[in-house]
Amino acid sequence: MTEHHQHHIKLPEGSIEKQTTTLNVGPTHPATHGVFQNIMELDGEQIVSTEQTVGYIHRAFEKLAERRPLYQVTPITDRLNYCSSPLNNMGWHLTCEKLLGVKTPKRVDYLRIIIMELARISDHLICNSIVGVDTGAYTGFLYVMQYRELIYEIYEEVCGSRLTTNIGRIGGFERNFTNTAFTKLEKFLKEYPKVLKEFQSLFARNRIFMERTIGGGAISAERALNYGFTGPNLRAAGVDYDVRVHSPYSSYEDFNFSIPVGKTGDNYDRFLVRNEEMWQSLSIIEQAYKKVQEFKGADAEIFHADVPEYYLPKKEDVYTKMEALIWHFKIIMGEVDLPKGEVYHSIEAGNGELGFYLISDGGRTPFRLHFRRPCFIYYQAYPELVTGGMLSDAIVTMSSLNLIAGELDA
């Protein structure tokens, strides 16, 4: 026979009135995927209010860019959305080309599109597989990480590095794509669709995943537009705004692709929109690759526009000839003055409209460079998305928004 002791717990003053618990989520937390802190007031499992703190990885990119000539800014742009560095690099080079008035040849545009869409695929892969991890399904993540290695190998062949690529030059690329690069691209195009189909089949009609994600973190189109949402998060809410279609850059108008749009803007729609965008990106890469193969003979050797003041000379010349060495040094160290001007250019990055606002006063470095970072802007809506929902849904919402700390804090 057990005796039950009645424990009289003395409640602290005012505790009956305070029905909510304060929970500090982050900044070091496995589920926040980056350094974000949320101080949540919980009523049981339901979130009553939440307040975010950001800036835990503020690296002062904008101040750093005022010290660096154009080519030295490219490695900084790498570290914005580091899951898809080539997109940021290309966006920066396109901004510089807009300032300098450079027109790139078609072959360069198509090669750029191949690299940009590969970067988009690698970004969406991480986001979607991490949404799976947060609902408990670790397998999908490990399975597709293997295929991100294939994308990394293609980057390595073109520019030499895997993650923070510093790819390309103002006007094009540093070298022509080798046959190995095209072989690796063909291997990717052959193997990847099966994998994506399998990954999709693990999640898209999976009852548990659907019940976890449907309804969580929903936002209406009007609120999303008011919050300045762009990219897959906005398209999941129902607005078909895609910078590649609205203001095409780098010859996107020559390609045939559609923009997937969701209905309710909840986690499930975001997952499906990103998934479908990966299929669309795959189709764009195939079209671009076909178009690149149509260039024959001398046309197939073009890999950059003619911008002598801003395009680094060939490496063989730099290592052997004095003038090329001096010219290389001058361009990198910014001894060539920029034209005066003020330009805003945006591209469709993995998370939405990534904008570069560049003011140049004729000096060697930008006078002011501001990055319009989509993650920073749509993270403001997080309290509205999670209030009233449960804590576990808040975690899934955070990862389905694809918050990348580097882009958010810059």
């Binding site: 950001v54 002062a60 904008e62 537009l225 300045g228 607005v239 609205h246 319009r372 403001q380 804090d409």
Partner: protein, 168 residues
């Protein structure tokens, strides 16, 4: 009728007279300057008018022009009309002595954090903002780092040999 830069300029000068000035077209985008206390009215006008319809705030940032005495700090607004695909940019200038600008966060929720970031970097005080405190830097910081007078590097470092970095 397509929304052209001339039409926007015409509507603005018709409504605001010389409170809007300095119109120019740079890289196909209309640029203008608005006098400091009219920024909210111009934003509201551009938002409400059916033929202008600039209902998307793309970007809000600050710039420091240390050489323009009395107008050192600028707030730059980029607006976008999604239906007609037209972008415009306008600037509002204030001085370092009293950097007060009305907040756009009641009209555009997107402006909330963008104004906090501009405050954090430049010290521009947005009147009417619900939560104007530092967002990216540490809360205890007592200066506004992106102003041109402040250096990039951390001045409290003692382990760096300035000679090696060309600053000796």
């Amino acid at each position: 009728m397509a929304l052209t830069n001339e039409h926007i300029q015409h509507r603005l000068t018709e409504k605001f007279g010389d409170l809007v000035s300095n119109f120019s077209v740079l890289y196909d985008m209309l640029n203008f300057e608005v006098s400091t206390d009219q920024n909210l009215k111009v934003l509201q006008f551009l938002y409400d008018e059916a033929d202008l319809n600039f209902q998307f705030l793309t970007d809000l940032c600050g710039v420091n022009f240390p050489d323009q005495i009395g107008r050192e700090l600028a707030v730059v607004y980029h607006l976008h009309n999604l239906q007609d695909n037209v972008r415009i940019r306008f600037k509002v200038f204030t001085s370092v002595a009293s950097p007060d600008v009305y907040t756009a966060s009641k009209l555009f929720s997107a402006a909330n954090w963008m104004e906090r970031e501009t405050y954090d970097f430049y010290g521009i005080n947005f009147i009417g903002h619900s939560n104007l405190k530092r967002i990216l830097n540490v809360d205890e910081m007592d200066y506004f780092p992106l102003r041109k007078e402040y250096p990039l590097e951390d001045q409290t470092r003692i382990d760096k040999d300035d000679q090696m970095f060309g600053r000796g």
